[in-house]
């Protein structure tokens, strides 16, 4: 097969673009973000049940697209020497109810895929199965994914895993199929205390852009430069987040 000069240059440009930045479908339309108010989370686990029901993840397996971490901290001085215990809720059984909360500081932190705008999982994927949509969501093309687990090791938030039945990687999609129907993600729909807030950041009248303008926003691991799109509220003094 012979290439003309024009074809060669354009294909090289496309390949370079793909290698450097991954495929990014840009648009001026919408940009979805989630905000999580840590003080409002009560650790009931309704979001985990909703997510696993919605996305057909086996309920009894200890994997989930979203999960809740409970921290029990006995404070020592200097502060980094405190004793930290972490309990994880990622099935329909709630480990928080019978846990012995004897620490000085206790809190819940719901976690999910941060939909980074500079995502390590997109950069490392050898078959380019991961891509950014125009709404700022990172998706996995499960027809292209070969299950090599590079993204599982690359993700600094531990938000991606191998689906036990489909044998390809799986992660939060912000419930893309629900967004297309005008619904909110399942975890946001199921949260009884409105600890999860979801919306379009490009719309100046939405709740998320109001909060972004007026309140303090915290990110998980901001120092590694992944530009996460899941924002945390009231995380301030909670130093221990793994």
């Amino acid at each position: 097969m012979r290439l003309t000069r024009r074809q060669f240059i354009s294909s090289a440009a496309v390949a370079g673009f793909v290698f450097l930045g991954g495929i990014r479908v840009k648009g001026e339309s919408k940009h979805y973000v989630m905000m999580i108010d840590v003080d409002k989370c009560i650790g009931c686990g309704k979001c985990v049940i909703a997510c696993k029901t919605e996305n057909e993840i086996p309920m009894d397996r200890k994997i989930s697209r979203t999960w809740i971490e409970g921290y029990n901290i006995k404070v020592r001085f200097p502060y980094p020497e405190s004793e930290v215990e972490k309990v994880v809720l990622n099935t329909d059984e709630n480990p928080f109810q019978d846990f012995e909360w004897d620490g000085d500081k206790t809190y819940f932190i719901p976690k999910l895929c941060n939909h980074c705008q500079n995502a390590p999982c997109v950069q490392v994927c050898p078959v380019f199965a991961r891509f950014y949509t125009e709404e700022g969501i990172v998706l996995v093309d499960k027809n292209a994914c070969i299950g090599c687990k590079y993204c599982v090791t690359a993700c600094p938030y531990g938000a991606t895993y191998i689906h036990p039945e489909q044998k390809v990687t799986d992660k939060c999609t912000y419930c893309y199929h629900r967004l297309r129907r005008g619904l909110k993600p399942a975890c946001v729909t199921a949260c009884p205390t409105k600890a999860r807030i979801f919306g379009d950041i490009n719309d100046p009248n939405s709740e998320v852009s109001r909060i972004l303008r007026t309140e303090k926003i915290y990110l998980l691991k901001p120092e590694i430069g992944t530009e996460p799109q899941t924002f945390y509220l009231n995380l301030g003094d909670k130093t221990f987040v793994e």
């Binding site: 989370c41 029901t53 109810q97 909360w101 206790t106 380019f128 893309y176 629900r178 619904l183 949260c191």
Partner: protein
């Protein structure tokens, strides 16, 4: 002495070459149409949870009662199960009615990190009664 090195080198070249052939030739190349086809597959999945706004369209009375007090932020489907199918065909999928103590205690047991809701100790707070004896879930304070 030399042979094992050559053999292992050949093996490495075969493995890496095979991987390269798979990645760059056999596996589907990246084109916009592949991604849009996956977007269609992803978008065509059926939801399970409907959301409060859809429930309110038919069940106006109970929704107005729910919105009038402290449980106003609690979604219907947290207690009644996922009900998107119920909105399509109300007879086919019936809502769950779970009035056990365990389902209330899931949010209202007193544990230290739980600050945003009112909590009780289920060991001492009327242990022999169901919660719905005194508290109506759609208007919990009081029956």
């Amino acid at each position: 002495m030399k042979k094992p090195i050559i053999n292992s080198l050949a093996l490495a070249i075969i493995v890496i070459g095979g991987l390269m052939v798979y990645v760059f030739i056999i596996s589907p190349p990246i084109k916009a149409e592949f991604i849009s086809s996956w977007l269609q597959i992803e978008a065509s999945r059926k939801p399970e949870y409907a959301g409060n706004e859809i429930c309110a369209q038919c069940h106006e009375d109970i929704y107005a009662q729910l919105m009038s007090q402290k449980h106003s932020s609690v979604p219907c489907e947290d207690c009644h199960g996922p009900l998107y199918d119920h909105t399509l065909d109300p007879e086919k999928r019936r809502p769950i009615i779970d009035d056990s103590r365990e389902s209330c205690v899931l949010c209202h047991k007193k544990i230290p990190p739980r600050k945003a809701v009112g909590t009780i100790d289920p060991e001492t707070h009327a242990p022999e009664f169901k919660c719905i004896t005194c508290h109506e879930p759609h208007k919990p304070w009081f029956k």
